[in-house]
């Protein structure tokens, strides 16, 4: 009995000593950490006289007054990070999510920015320590917004992910960062592509029926998804007409007999022959051999990166190419122009299969 008491006491003391040791180490690292701020390059004070704040309306419909040309920006949206890239404001960014740190197109722009974890659960302690003068918040994450409110941190919800609001968001960011001209240039380029696609869609004799499938097998895209919005804009007649995305039966798709099947997939699943495997899997599904799209070789696997964020016009062009033919536009061409217009280095590998 006494031995047991002794063992328990020793165990308790050992754990207490362990925690105390962590504690002491923690004290040391806390002090050392004081001076190690994240590097950033101040952009100078070139504001027009008198302007210190700007007022914008964000995705949540809230009108906010924020600092003009903020110098310590935390960006919680990968798409907004691309917007800051095209507006030439990446030097002001002191922290981004791990998606941006690992994104092949973005990592080089945010080498000095701190990684603050996931967009839906960012590291609030790290954000507080960075003392940001603006946080660009991902609008759908209301719990994060509540936390930012409770900590009195300055934020706007401009995630730049949605095709229907992308121009307003880039315009708002242009206003905040004093880059209205670049924002206008982007909007003009976007409008130009939309106009060309509309002409191509209008010149087609009849609309092709399209089955749009999301990342999971047989998961049909709802009309409210960005993917469907762009396909409709390119002239698609979607066979799945519900607002919300849902899993459908293969028999239903076979019965609808779509002219085209478009499958979207993440870049990670498209590289190293992944896209071809996905293509073959779709074509070999039971009953799909009778579907027009499979018989005529009109099955396409598109990278999801084409459809969201400032470059979403590339997704529109991809859909237009599939539905209306080339007509002077191609994914490679619009992305090459986009890169050269805004000094970006967006990769064009593995975005479409078969190649458009």
């Amino acid at each position: 009995m006494d031995n047991k008491i002794l063992a328990v006491t020793v165990a308790v003391v050992a754990i207490a000593v362990g925690i105390s040791a962590i504690f002491l180490l923690n004290n040391g690292s806390g002090t050392a950490d004081e001076g190690s701020q994240v590097d950033y390059v101040p952009t100078g004070s070139d504001e027009p006289d008198g302007i210190t704040q700007v007022t914008v309306t964000d995705n949540l419909g809230v009108t906010k007054t924020v600092k003009y040309k903020p110098e310590r920006v935390v960006c919680l949206s990968t798409y907004a990070c691309e917007a800051l890239m095209l507006l030439g404001q990446t030097d002001r960014v002191v922290a981004v999510t791990n998606s941006s740190k690992t994104n092949a197109d973005q990592a080089e722009y945010f080498v000095n920015a701190k990684d603050i974890g996931n967009f839906n659960n960012p590291d609030m302690a790290a954000i507080l320590k960075l003392d940001p003068d603006l946080i660009i918040h991902y609008g759908t994450q209301t719990a994060v917004a509540e936390k930012l409110d409770s900590l009195h941190l300055p934020y706007v919800s401009l995630q730049c992910s949605n095709v229907s609001t992308i121009k307003q968001e880039i315009t708002a960011l242009g206003k905040i960062f004093g880059q209205e001209e670049l924002a206008e240039k982007y909007c003009g380029y976007y409008d130009d592509i939309v106009e060309q696609v509309s002409k191509a869609a209008g010149s087609s004799d009849s609309k092709k029926t399209v089955y749009m499938e999301s990342f999971s097998s047989m998961y049909a895209m709802g009309l409210s998804s960005t993917y469907s919005v762009l396909a409709l804009q390119a002239g698609a007649d979607l066979i799945y007409k519900e607002q919300a995305s849902a899993t459908v039966s293969p028999a239903w798709v076979v019965g609808k007999n779509p002219d085209v099947i478009i499958k979207t997939q993440t870049l990670a699943n498209m590289v190293d022959g992944g896209a071809e495997n996905i293509y073959n899997e779709i074509c070999s599904r039971t009953g799909f051999g009778t579907v027009s799209a499979v018989r005529d070789g009109d099955v396409h696997v598109l990278c999801s990166q084409l459809f969201a964020g400032p470059r979403c016009f590339a997704g529109l062009v991809a859909c237009s190419n599939i539905l209306n033919g080339d007509d002077g536009l191609s994914v490679t061409k619009v992305l090459t122009d986009y890169n050269s217009m805004f000094g970006l280095h967006i990769s064009m590998d593995d975005l479409t299969y078969p190649n458009l």
């Binding site: 009995m1 207490a16 504690f23 302690a125 790290a126 507080l128 003392d131």
Partner: protein
């Protein structure tokens, strides 16, 4: 050795264990206020608390240390203690009143039921409440959104419903305790089916919310959650600890308890409802956290025996300690990314039970 000296030695052992766990809990709580993705030094932590309590006397420790300690780390430490304590005493009480060492909030379907309630709130809340879903309600000077309250109330209501269903079926059918436990498992499966259906039809953001909740995530805990959970857990714990002598009688058997004047059915019903209230209130804020209700009572039973007067409070303290350590690890080990604390609990719980089963050929669980 006479009976008196044996009893005295046991009593000393129990007190020593209680004091050790309380001390360890206190040290861990202090560490939890400093350790996280951003480390705060011990003096800065003390000054931050001093500044929060007595702003006229203490200057802020620094620009960021105060908010990090007071707004981010402290509510999580307090909630981990509350949730760990209530889940552990819930497990202890369930095991005592139903006289089965394998029952817990998990096995009686309470966790699944509360999970279903929360999932309904997350997925259907916007449709059911419309524009008022995001509306704020001020209570005790803090602004609570209706969405938070809706999810919390639904989690509690469904948790309570599962317990009532199990008790009513058990009473109506006049069944054995093992059938009551089986009923709990089946009720849990029914609510699991509901959760699966909701996950299947929910959009990306709702799905992420439900998944996080089901995995036990503490990162959304704030002082508002503590303000709601603290009085509930405090009152329920006092009521349960006050009755712990009666649990001793019930543990000895229904007939013994009846001979001692205990209205067994009434007492069992009352106790289960009280611990359901405490556990589901915490689960509504933390998400599903398993195994504490099994681990803490078993560890304590192995060390201090089955005297419920000690077992209930000591299990509570040990449960609080286990969850606090797990939560501190979950928010630190892969910083800035947080692991849901439920994942760590599953790992700990799984390993613990493999140990238990292999230790004495499973006789510990008999």
């Amino acid at each position: 050795m006479d009976v008196k000296s044996v009893y005295g030695a046991q009593k000393r052992k129990r007190r020593l264990f209680l004091l050790s766990t309380i001390s360890l809990l206190a040290v861990t709580a202090v560490a939890g206020l400093c350790i996280g993705s951003e480390m705060v030094s011990f003096p800065d932590m003390l000054v931050s608390i001093g500044n929060a309590l007595f702003p006229d006397i203490f200057e802020p420790a620094g620009r960021w240390q105060g908010p990090v300690v007071i707004e981010l780390y402290a509510p999580r430490v307090v909630m981990a203690i509350l949730a760990g304590f209530s889940l552990a005493i819930a497990g202890t009480v369930m095991q005592s009143t139903l006289r089965n060492p394998l029952v817990s909030p998990f096995t009686l379907g309470l966790s699944s039921a509360a999970g279903f309630g929360a999932a309904v709130g997350i997925v259907l809340g916007p449709a059911l409440l419309g524009g008022s879903y995001a509306m704020g309600v001020t209570f005790l000077g803090m602004e609570f959104t209706l969405s938070n309250i809706f999810v919390t109330v639904l989690a509690f209501a469904t948790g309570l419903l599962s317990t009532v269903v199990v008790l009513v079926i058990g009473k109506r059918m006049n069944t054995s305790r093992s059938v009551v436990i089986l009923t709990g498992v089946i009720v849990g499966y029914l609510f699991q089916a509901g959760i699966t259906a909701l996950k299947y039809v929910s959009g990306d953001d709702s799905l992420r919310g439900i998944t996080g909740w089901l995995m036990g995530r503490m990162w959304e805990v704030d002082w508002k959650a503590v303000v709601i959970a603290l009085p509930v857990v405090a009152v329920c714990s006092i009521l349960i600890i006050k009755d712990s002598q009666v649990f001793n009688a019930i543990t000895a058997g229904d007939d013994v308890a009846k001979t001692l004047g205990v209205d067994v059915e009434r007492f069992r019903r009352r106790s289960l409802i009280i611990i359901t209230l405490a556990a589901s209130t915490c689960l509504a804020f933390t998400g599903i956290i398993g195994f504490i209700g099994l681990m803490a009572p078993h560890i304590c039973r192995m060390i201090i025996g089955n005297d419920q007067r000690f077992l209930v409070p000591v299990s509570g303290v040990l449960g609080a300690l286990i969850l606090l350590v797990s939560d501190t690890v979950s928010r630190t080990i892969l910083a800035p990314i947080e692991i849901p604390v439920g994942v760590i609990m599953y790992l700990l719980g799984g390993v613990f039970f493999i140990y238990l089963i292999t230790r004495r050929n499973g006789r510990v669980l008999e």
